[in-house]
Each structure stands twice: as C-alpha cells, then as structure tokens.
Symmetry: C2
Subunit: 461 residues, 2 copies
Amino acid sequence: MSVATALRNDWLEELKALLGERVSTAAAVREQHGHDESWHETAAPEAVCFARSTEEVAAIVKICAAHRVPVVPFGTGTSLEGHVNALHGGVTIDLGEMNAILRVSAEDLDCTVQPGVTRKQLNEHLRDTGLFFPIDPGANASLGGMAATRASGTNAVRYGTMRENVLALTVVLADGRVIRTAQRARKSSAGYDLTRLFVGSEGTLGVITEVTLRLYGIPESISAAVVSFPDIEGAVQAVITTIQAGVPVARIELLDEVQMEAIRNYSGLDYPAQPTLFLEFHGSEAGVAEQAETVGAICGDHGGGDFRWSSRTEDRSRLWEARHNAYYAALAMRPGSKGWPTDVCVPISALAECIVETKKDLAGSFLLAPLVGHVGDGNFHLSFLLDPDKPEELAEAHRLNDRLVMRALALGGTCTGEHGVGYGKMKFLQAEHGEALSVMRTLKQALDPDNIMNPGKIVAV
Amino acid sequence: MSVATALRNDWLEELKALLGERVSTAAAVREQHGHDESWHETAAPEAVCFARSTEEVAAIVKICAAHRVPVVPFGTGTSLEGHVNALHGGVTIDLGEMNAILRVSAEDLDCTVQPGVTRKQLNEHLRDTGLFFPIDPGANASLGGMAATRASGTNAVRYGTMRENVLALTVVLADGRVIRTAQRARKSSAGYDLTRLFVGSEGTLGVITEVTLRLYGIPESISAAVVSFPDIEGAVQAVITTIQAGVPVARIELLDEVQMEAIRNYSGLDYPAQPTLFLEFHGSEAGVAEQAETVGAICGDHGGGDFRWSSRTEDRSRLWEARHNAYYAALAMRPGSKGWPTDVCVPISALAECIVETKKDLAGSFLLAPLVGHVGDGNFHLSFLLDPDKPEELAEAHRLNDRLVMRALALGGTCTGEHGVGYGKMKFLQAEHGEALSVMRTLKQALDPDNIMNPGKIVAV
C-alpha cells in the first residue's frame, strides 16, 4: 500500500467513526451520486456521506480539509451541467436527509429550511398557511441545490430568481467553520453581501446547510391562457410589448412548433403545432381579468390567434403539467435519446434576433432540438436530442451550442440564465466575463485555498 | 524632507502630470471632501482628483497603488456614517464630473450611467420615455454612491433596493484593473455574483465607474393617502396586515407624533400630530382604487382615522415633499442642532415591539428624536437632535443607539437597513455577523491586499 493510499484511508476511517453506516463506498451508491440529469459522463466519488445536521457537515468538511480530500455537496442530483460529478474523486455529502422545515413565519412571509427540503415539499407544507414559494425550475429540486445554482424557472418574470428570494444562508466553509450570511431583516447595508456570494457558488466556496427564503401570499385569483402565433417573431414581440407595458404576468412561456408537436403527442393537448405562449396571471379577481384583457389585445396585435383564457384550476393544472413535462415530451420524440438542454439569456430587445438566428442554425442541422423559453426574462432553452453513443451527434450539439452562446454573448447576454456553470459551461466564462473571471478565481482561492470544495467547477485554479 | 514625504510627493506629482488642474490640494476643497451629511468629524484627504473617465480612475488608482496611498471615492457626499471621510489621508476621487447617461433602452427597461449621475438627473432625463428609476433615498444622491451604499428608501417595499436594481457595474479594482461584473441579461447563473459583491462595498473593494440599472414604466395611475392613528401600535399593525395581504403598496411610511409635529410646523401640513401613515399606490386606475380601498379598510380595523385619499398630482407632491423634508423639519425643532439618524431594520413581526421599546427609551431621555420609517420593510430611523459641542448629548445618543441596535439584533434585525456601515457602524458588525465578519475580512484582504481602498471602513484589517 502506498503512503498516499494509506493517508487517504485515514479519512475514510475518520468518516466512519463519525457517521457509522451513513458513509457508503458501495459502487451503486457512488455511481448514483456521480452524475446529474444531463449528458455529462459519470464521475463517482470515493465515498458518500449522508449528513443529518450542520454540525455533521462541518465535521465531515474538517476531516476532508485535514486530508485535502475533495468535497461535493449533493441535493437531488437534478442539475444539468455536471455540478455534482466528482471529477477529482473525494467525498460527496448527500444532504437529502437534512429535509426539515425549521421555521415558517406567516407574519414575516419567510421560512428557514434545511437544504434537502424540495420545493414541492415546502409548498405542501405551506398549503394551509395561505403562503407559497414561487420559484419553480421544473424539477422537484432541493432548495439548497436551487440556492447553490441560482435557479429560477417559469415564475421568475414576476417573483425573481433564487438571487432575490434567498434572505440568508448557513454555510459550512472550506475549513469547517460555520457562518450565517445575514440576519432575517428584509434589507440590510451591513457589509458585503455574503448571501448573494454563496447563492450561485455551486458548492465551490462552501456547503449550504440552511436556507432562509421569502414567501408570498397565494394570490386571491389565478388564471391561465394559451395563444398560438403563425410565426415565432410575433410571439416574441407580444412578450416584449407585454413586459414593456408593465403587466405583472406571473408566467409567460414560449414553446416553438417542434416542442408543441412533442407536447401534442406526449400530453394529449390539442393546441396546434405552432409557436405558442402559455401565460399565468396572479392578482385580485378584477386585476387578473384586467391583465388577461391587456395581454389578449397585445397578442392580437402581433398576429396571435384565439386567446384561450381560463380560471378553472383543472385547466391550469393540465397546462402547467404539460409545460413541466416538455423535456420528457421532447425526449419521447426520439426514444432512447438523451437531452442536452442549452440555457442562454439575453436582453429582451435581442430575444427575437437571437431566437430567429438560432432557428436558422437548427434548420441547417440534422439534430432535432425543440425550444422552450422563460421569454419574459429573455431566457430560452433548446433540447438537443442525442444518441450518446454517436460522437458525431455530440460534436454537432457542441457546434450548435458554441454558436448559440457566442451569439448570446455578442447580444449582451449570458451563457447560462439559470442552469449554472458546473463544468459544462466553464469554457465560456472567459469570453463572458473577461478580467472579471480572474476576480472570481481570487475569491475562490481566498475562501478555499486548498481547492477542496467541488473542485473543477466554475473556475479552474 | 523625510524619505516618506519625498515618496508621498511623488504620487502628487504623478497625479498632476495625469490630471493637471483637476488635482486640488486647496484646504477648502479638501475639507469639503472630508465629511458627509452626518455628525461624524471631518477627516480631509491630502488631495482631491476630479476624474472624467474610467480610464482616468484606473490611472489614478494605479498611481496610488504604486505608492500605497489611500483612495476614497466621492459622489455627492450625502452618506451618513462617515463613508467619505479620509481617515488615513490619501486621495479622494470626486466622480461628480462623470455624470453622463450613457445609454437608455426602453425595450429592455434598463440604462447605463456614469457614477456621478444623480437619481433626480436620471429621472429628468427619462421623463419623455415613460420610464422611471424608483429608488429614492431622499437625498439627491449619485447613483454610484447609492450602489456603493446599497441604498433604498421610500419605494423599496415595492421595487426593492439597489441590491435588486443594479444589473451590472464597471469597477476599477485596487490594482487599477477594470472589470465589468456582469452582462446585461436580466438573470444569469454564470459564476459568482460580483455585482452584488460590489453593491454595498462602500469603495472598500474598488471604485464603481459605471452602473447599469433596471428601469420601470411610469404607472398608468398613482394615488396617495394619509391616515392618522391614536397610537403607534395600531399604525404598525395596519402596515403588517397590508404587507401580509399582498397589497403591492409602492410606499408605506410611518411618522410618529413628534415627527408629525415637526412637519406641521415646517411644511404647514395640517394633519394632526399623531402617529401617521403616508401611502402611495401604483397601478392601473382600477388597480389603484382597489388597493386604496383594501388598505383603507385595514387601517380602519386598526383604529385609523379618516383615510384621506387623493389622485391629484399636487396633493401627492405636497405630501412627499413634506416626507422628504422630514429630516430638515426635525432639525428645525432645535435650531442649530445636528442630526444623528439611526437605521435599524427588523423582521416586520418584530417591528411593533422594537418601536414601542425604543419609544420607552426615548421617554426616559432628555434628547429629542423624531421617528420616521420605511415600515413596509421593517426599517425605521430616529433623528437625534444634537448640539455637537455638548459631549453629554453625544454620549446619550451613543447610549440610545447602542441599545436600539442591540435590540434590533436580538429581534433578528440589522444595525443598518440602508445607510451602510462607513466607520460609524463598524463596532456593531461583530455582534451582527459573528464568524461571517471574518469572511468579509478575507474578501477585503484578497481584493485589496495593501488596504488602500477606503481604508478604515466596513472591516478593520
């Protein structure tokens, strides 16, 4: 046995002494924790720890720090850029058992949860309080993971992203120290914004072990609408006009004709296979009706067809279930395929150009790639449908995605609106941030000098 | 001449070679740049530079870095915790001449400005576009200064603070490098949130030389209301209920009976000298009427008197002018006095308790201290009216403020909701942040290893 292996075994023994059965080196467990929902290749950790408290996470990190062993936090594994893949081995900390809702304050419209609580679990828990947590990335992700990824989704146009909705975090640092990033007040000017520094840091600066979130009152009235357009420019222009008019739409989602065809087949919705907007309105009864009327008129001005509006809960549920299943509907277009979702976000004035140029690229490609978008924010996704065993398909997806990202950057946009960097997007950060990337590297080195926190993600050091 | 002085003169010569007449060592200019609007004692810099571009700021900082000379950024000097006081001498960079509005995009609802543009200047410029920038701290502060302080004010309950409304910054770092913190997309998950790191950093990590801001459409309808209460608890409970009910009030300001007495005398408003709420509603005509009706009923439930509602522009202007002059009205209660504004912010559920206990302290003190508050956020201010030549008055203000801050922290609040730390609030940060303060210190040391950027503010190193 080499000295290195002997040293590395020390940490495993120490972890076992700390956690007993809650450390696993079983191949199946390691494999399951070595990948997310994307096409990125599995990279399994050497051990998986199932932590139950902030103190345990701190103790695990201290052991890893002493032995310079990588630490990868794991929530539900629903990320899309290889965030949880253990590229340099080491220890994955599964936070799924830290799933307690610690506190809900109806008066303050906030709550504190452990990182393994999922967004659906929180909303189930809140149901009787009249409150809800709006951020909805589609997947039933953990709130710790959503904070770490700076996630958003369909409601962000109205309620913001995790950036706006995390009030404070408890974080275990790279040396095992535990900090609270902020008090619970709605606003503060008391020093550097550590909350926002850790939101979106993807486990590379510390492990999030508690999340304090903003909550909202369930609106008095909610209604939904669907409207089809003869072309995608008309749909996008209708969105731009709606946002400029200051209509506080809660959701405004674009699906292109390919995605609508997929949804017709998968979810049995009988809307035409044309570019389509799915909308949701929140407010008082009169307010919701007024919003729908305004947006209906705007859509009409841009060539929209019948504005199908409904305030019936079952109609809404059916619509949003179909929207949430868009990814699976896309995959079903090509059975056995894997999806590669892209994620650019541009200033809304550039959205029509960005989408139209991208669709031209797709028209000249052999890959099938339905489009969905949180277009009120300027954010849209293609899903490349790949046979992962065919290198030429992966190469073509890379080529198209590279062109898409560079187009978005040239238009003042970003390579990732909500999925995060993981290691899949690292190659674009120099082009996006320039010299600012070196500041990110400085921060990483200052807070994690031994590069043990989710190494190989966001910034190379 | 000592070696040190000789070395120090070198930097002055280099600055003069760079800027010519736009470097001043005149006593009056240095004195004017050595203090803000608060009671904190003047600390003049050794020289004042009037910069005209990002490149000039970078060149100034490079000269200062080479000679280890402190750099203090200066906007309008309207801060309140000694942010601009040159505690260790060095060079103040006056950014007032960098006052160009570089770009307005009505389609994207955003703009980019130089840091010396004031909020009133921006709103004048925007008037014909149908857009406005809502953040309103009272003073006609510069937008660079507001970003650096993480300012907010009366509209934050609806529109958020500078934290939510700065999309990107250009920053000159401590070594003179220039970075752009983000692209212009509404949301991004592309790495660490440098924008939010520099918002609120008060010049201690870099000098802000461009600010990209969110804009909003001017609402179709705006109305205002005033309502008096027999006691302050009733007024606060009415606010809490309004926020919980999800009414999107644009402004909801509390003034206590002392402040109302001051305003009656100063602005000639004939409202009774009782705890009073000033409100503003933004929306469609029907929406604004609906909001006013809801809030009127809530106020009635909590003992509020006549709900005086008006959509006439002149009534609104008179009301908000009186609110903005509250500080001067307070000072006029004791001619020749200086004001010391406090700034705690607590979770709204703790607001009534925090205010009531604080009023008890005041009842037992010889100092006069009117109260105003952005109570929808849980943020309120006392203005201690001091004779600065009387040490016993300063001591009493310290005693009362210490008690107030410790009370707010115990209730889950912060020592500063919007004024920032400067050097006036540094002594409270350990109690507020605990171990997290050491992370702030690590960040400061990583980005400004020689401690030349506004030294002696936020964190001691």
